[in-house]
Amino acid sequence: MTLAVDSVRTELAALVGQSHVLADPAACAALAVDGKVPDCAVSPSTAEQVAAVLRYASEHHLALIPRGKGSKLSTGNPPRRYDVALPLGELNRVIHFEPADLTITVEAGMTFGDFQALAGRNGLWLPLDPRGGAESSLGGIIAANAAGPLRQGFGGPRDMVLGLKIATPEGKIAKTGGRVVKNVAGYDLGKLLTGSFGTLGVIVEASLKLFPKPPERATFTLRAGTLGIARDLRRSIRRSPLEPLRLVLLDSPATALLSDSVQVHERPGAELWIEVGGSHRVIERCAYELRQLASAAGVPLTRLDGAEEAWERVSNLALWLQQKYRDVTVLKAALPEVASEEFVSRAQQEAEAERIALASFAQVGVGIVHLCALQQALSASVLGLVVRLRQAAAELGGTLVIEHCQVDLKSQVDVWGAGGDDLDAMLKIKSAWDPKEVLAPGRFLGGI
């Protein structure tokens, strides 16, 4: 901040009200991103206030990082500048909700938990199980395009956003898309904002498509034992009439972690977790199909009761594992789905060579593999692991992103990896929309 910090705070207070500007050092420290502490935090309570704050920041060359609950802010490179934190939790109103239309418009700071409760009272839901869970904000989920294992059955936020209202870095309010389920009017800028990690605009309102909640859901585990059998089972499941809602392969350490009772060093073997949904009769039919598959493969099948807590852990790996291990590194590989098991196997080998305890949670039906390095390891060995696994992912036709890690690792490796021949176009979009680099400068791919 080049201006006197005090005068900035005073002027921001004039925009949002004194009680909405926090300057207390402890409060600011809690809003640090990658170790960078902002000078103050501004909590706007309307979209217009968000725009006013952005206009002010743009005029005074301040850098802002918008945040919902902060559950996904560990993903990104360290910000080049960070003057003001912009928590959006006060934007939590319902703008429009007509259950029979299966559409809803809410402000972006609303928590996912509140949102699901509201939808749930009408027999509906947004079928997402994003990182951060009930505590995360809808705006954050959209900004990170955060999809969990439910992507198998329903797709991700990208497929559910109908329209967005944003505050632009220059302080204007603009909207894209609309409120109806089908709409091709104009460029689909909602796609650009979804997954842009707050670098193009601040999402202040979202219109979303809702889905009827399945009457029942059930989780089954197939104790595959080896990755090879797990791969064959995945193939059989994908070729069967089953329509899983979630399908996750846990390698041996992941199985141990999730079942809690076993030590990490023991080898319970790989498991496939599969969730299905529908009426009682449909679930019975799925159970029958799975029994056939299991017996053909010669593996045990178990129906799990109360699997929801375990699923929440799988969606929230970093949050959950941090309760046990101090340093957790979470890597996310995105691959052609058939390469999932092969990648897990490569990861196991690399981790063993580096003596790093690694657990793999692989959404094998969509090719998303999360790797969690558990113990406090020398950062040099984690770095080596990241570099080699990024190479392995590339060889298998995929990419690897560091979703969560200690800050010192970020000074040695780009969390996103390299861009492709479309990076130049991305850089141009950033400079066309945010020429003064107001929003989260330096956090995204290619230094965006």
């Binding site: 109806v180 091709v184 460029y187 796609k191 009439p241 039919r285 861009g419």
Partner: protein, 475 residues
Amino acid sequence: MKSKGLFRELARIVGEDGILWRREDLMLYEYDALSSLRQPDVVTFPRTTEHVVQIAKLALRENLPLVARGAGTGLSGGSVATEGGILLVFSRMKQILEIDLENQRARVQPGVVNLDLSLAVADEGYYYAPDPSSQKACTIGGNVAENSGGPHTLAYGVTTNHVLALEVVLPDGEVIHTGARHWDRPGYDLTGVFVGSEGTLGIVTEVTVRLSRKPEAVKTLLAIYDKVVDATRTVAAITARGITPAALEMMDGFCLRAVEEATHAGYPMDCAAVLLIEVEGLKEAVEEHADEIEAVCRDNQAREVRRAKSAEERDLLWKGRKGAFGALGRITPNFYVQDGVIPRTRLPEMLDFIGTVEKKYGLHIGNIFHAGDGNLHPLILYDERNREQTACVVQAAKDIIMRCVEMGGSITGEHGVGLEKSDLMPLIFSEDDLELMSRIKNLFNPLGRLNPGKLLPTGKMCGELRGGLVGGGPV
């Protein structure tokens, strides 16, 4: 700008048989399914991405407009060369480059016909989900440009939900690759921006799509009503039950009779409306949903609910639905079809309103549309030789679109903005909204040579429908 020298240069790129420039040949390319008469200066048929690159560079040097065209089935004038220039017709880039069933992906050239892709993987139990009514003719490239929908997009989403990666030639000849065959490639979702950009940001030369697994079971129901309002009420009642059919289509009696006379699909001739409803999935789920839907239809005064007893019966019902626009072509010299969207709960009052408009202007308006999505397709019948009537059509269409906007809807659900509705954009977008879109356009297409006059308002006739209301072809 028409010069023998230019034609020679183009012929060197694509071969002598790869260009058309005689007036009588160009006439075939002066319209699409919207019908707007403007000839390109020259038509080219590239066969490779490299051809497109070279043509783009030539167009840049000569400062000529560059317009891409698939099969010309578009309903918003998206492929009409409004300012002449070079038309790139993709009918010779129609190879399916790769099919990867285990990953459920296909990589195709833009000229591949939509239905051909589904047929290529049908025996293995897969298909490509977006199914525009013109799917026998329309191309994947055109679908990408317009972000096309279709009856089954109710459950499965439109084109953008099934496209993962693109190869794009930018107007200066640079080739970029957006997205990836896997999910979550880091960076901005440029694929999502190019899909639906109506050929105004780049020329797509390769498309990677997601293939879907065919469901185990399908049931097709035909609910027959004596009153339109009962049919429209049924729509929201079905979703209120927590059922998402794969498709939920409505046809009013007027369209139905035209369709039946043309296709003999077995539709009743004496009713006010039908709903064509399809449910898909595991056979247990399909049976339960079909029973529930039937009950909802009867609760809403359906006179009769039939179920297709065989695949042939089902195909016949769909043949009628998908051939509807063509069938109407038999009974009217011209028709104009709109594509507004409203929240599905507002369908009963909207259909009432369309009836009022019909009377107000003394026109015939048929309704055949994607009821489950609230995506209307009012078909306004007219005779272009009757100038007074043609003027009424424009006014009636505007009344209907304004009503969609008032209901919180959109001016287009799947046909695209194109030439037809670019000046209606201010009805739903503010100056700031449009300015943000302009920045994207200026960045990729700074000289405005790529498909000029489409998507964004031209500012010439604010709030007016544009494009010649002439013709109106079958789709």
